[in-house]
Symmetry: C2
């Protein structure tokens, strides 16, 4: 069930009573998307600070609570939202609610903790920048989206902006976005609905709402630089292709999952067959649709055996993309992709934490609290998708003129012969 | 429900209908325990060969089936048993049954595949031997158990015995142990009991049983060398303490899980508090009870900050062990350990594959097919364990005279001052 408290807090309560466990998650509708230039990285940095103490829960108290209750807790920040999560034996979720209440309204941002955590966050950024795929992922967004829009910059921010960030900037960000009208509480598992409603009302309805004008930082493209060459120490060169993609919708989510399975869901998939099995040019293939609330990107990632093969690999990829634009799908593989997308959908519901994470995007998308029914409608969508649906989807999002191409190579590697889709001879 | 076919195959059928998924597992009551000297490593090597083709499923066919069905499959070998596992959408489990039938009776061991897979298995052994904890784990068993018993040698075998192994040895091992009277089929998930019974009878009851005299290779100790020093490239030295432990029983399983949580289940646990927080000598602490059907070992593992601290660390550990022999448990931490063991028990039931793996040891232990009720009785056991139960358990298994001590150090490190529990001043 879904309802809103008078102060604007959205509440979802879903029963799943097969085990005496409850997952409780507070999601804030704020992520790196909402950051101004000087705030870049603050959403993620603030997520770290949410564990450093609030009025009634001092440093370490949240992890101690999880440990003592036999539970787990975690948090993560993405471009559109920030989620704080607990998995607990059924009798302990009320305490987690008090924790989330306290750090929503009583966070205690201290200069000393801020300074030391800044180093941790910068360290995390540096580790992330050791991964060629992550480098390309961030570069793709920087290349696809214009600087004035919220999707341009990386969730973790930049070392420079983090260095320059002040406690005041963070406090302002927290005050603006961390309040009930910008938050969604999700409870899934084995609990009593009516007493949960009562507890939530008692604890969370008393503090007032603030109206938030969320940034209208929508997608704008700036494709002036579409070929990126990065250098770092890598065993194998990494090639990535990106297209700006749809904003999140249930149908697009279903289509992009099936497409993802079709192209790179395993060894009998299209790109694996062509690039690894038939031509032995590539070690592995990944694809994923990184749908955000307002837009996103569809990525393909290839680990090349040899940089010298770049143009052969690109030719084979573009040929396959051309076939898809014409709607020429391999029928058998297409049916397998649908089956796999459907079984992934079932398997992600096995664990309460996976299930919650899968539901969150639907809570942003669904206008009338229909997140669960939107999510459940995926079962039918996965079964019913046709090749013609897929052709329309591909034609809408795989536009040669919107392609960005990136490669990460070793400093010693030759400069590869890379070219864009529309430039294929 | 539990029943046996006339040919001796044990069958467990457990319904769990919350998602349209089925897990199907064939477990053979054979592992490294049953290997003669020249067979060392064959159980695990044979597990690899079970994917290389049988009469009706050629090389690659099993993975292809999983992919096409949207499922997963895997296998693993331990000291006592070997398990072959599929997780599938509900309508596909019958095909997995045909696969397991075919490779139980029609495995096609080919010399060429045997030779090339031997290199893969030896490579796996070498990778495993790069891990200091794994080196110590194997050495502990070699030091605790006598050479004549089945628990002495590592599951993966030795490079020498693998090198010398022939296809004939493997064929003999397969013929002896892979048959219905030595196998247990476990089906968990959303299926129809009566049609499952019919299908299983139709497919699996027709081939005859062979009687197996399983080796009476029981536990015998040989503690002539109780201090082990190993050298390999390590960032931090690794210290391990082992005691031979109980054979598997439900109550001992409950007790060892609680003890494990008490000693090293997280940052507020005994060993972490003493060695990491209060004295800053150790980076991290692990413990686990490695219960086999007939015996096993309880292990503690410590990553030391500095080899120079070895004797300080040992003194602190032995002091804590002494307190436990006297039944002096920290009451609050003991209650937390019980809560954590109980919630781990619930969480391991979330996914069908975790749940199946947890149940398997109970299928060996329970004499009348009571595996599920034995497993479910853990809920009460975790709640009811007293400090006095724990004292008895500790006194039975933590005998100073049965301790083995191992350390892995860098070649450049000084030789550490290590001493046994009974030699503490």
């Amino acid at each position: 069930m879904f309802y809103k408290l008078e102060n604007g807090l959205s509440v979802y309560l879903f029963l799943k009573k097969n085990l005496p466990l409850v997952s409780i998650t507070m999601v804030y509708g704020v992520g790196s998307f909402d950051e101004s230039k000087q705030e870049q990285g603050v959403a993620h940095f603030l997520e770290h600070m949410m564990f450093k103490g609030s009025k009634n829960y001092s440093l370490g108290a949240i992890d101690l609570f999880s440990h003592v209750s036999g539970g787990e807790n975690n948090a993560y920040t993405c471009k559109d939202y920030t989620a704080y999560y607990h998995l607990l034996p059924k009798d302990s979720w009320q305490e987690a609610l008090l924790i989330e209440k306290d750090r929503m309204i009583n966070l205690d941002l201290k200069q000393g903790e801020f300074d030391s955590e800044k180093q941790v966050v910068i360290e995390e950024l540096k580790m992330y920048q050791d991964e060629p795929q992550e480098i390309l992922y961030d570069s793709m967004y920087e290349s696809l989206y214009s600087k004035s829009g919220g999707y341009f910059h990386p969730v973790l921010g930049y070392e420079k902006t983090l260095d320059d960030m002040s406690l005041e900037i963070m406090q302002g960000f927290y005050d603006k976005y961390y309040n009930p009208s910008n938050a969604t509480l999700i409870l899934i598992g084995d609990f009593d609905i009516s007493s949960a409603k009562e507890t939530i009302k008692k604890e969370l309805s008393k503090f007032p709402s603030k109206k938030i004008a969320r940034s209208t930082n929508i997608r704008t493209y700036d494709l002036s630089d579409r070929k990126l060459i990065k250098e770092m120490e890598v065993e194998y060169p990494n090639l990535q292709i990106g297209f700006p993609s749809c904003g999140f919708s249930t149908k697009n989510y279903a289509l992009s999952n099936v497409l993802d399975e079709y192209l790179s869901g395993g060894k009998i998939c299209r790109f694996y067959q062509i690039l690894c099995e038939e031509n032995d040019l590539v070690n592995n293939v990944q694809s994923f649709c990184d749908s955000q609330v307002e837009g996103g990107a569809f990525f393909f990632n290839f680990e090349l055996k040899d940089i010298k093969d770049s143009s052969k690999v690109l030719t084979l990829i573009y040929q396959e993309l051309n076939k898809m634009l014409e709607g020429a799908f391999n029928k058998e593989e297409f049916e397998i992709a649908k089956t796999k997308a459907l079984s992934n959908f079932y398997m992600e519901q096995e664990k309460l934490d996976d299930y919650t994470m899968s539901l969150i995007p639907f809570t942003f998308y669904s206008k009338n609290g229909e997140a669960l029914s939107e999510y459940q409608s995926l079962e039918g969508l996965f079964k019913d998708i046709t090749e013609s649906d897929m052709k329309s989807f591909v034609c809408e999002y795989f536009k040669p003129s919107m392609q960005v191409l990136g490669i990460v190579k070793d400093a010693e590697d030759e400069i590869p012969n890379i070219f864009l889709w529309e430039d294929m001879k």
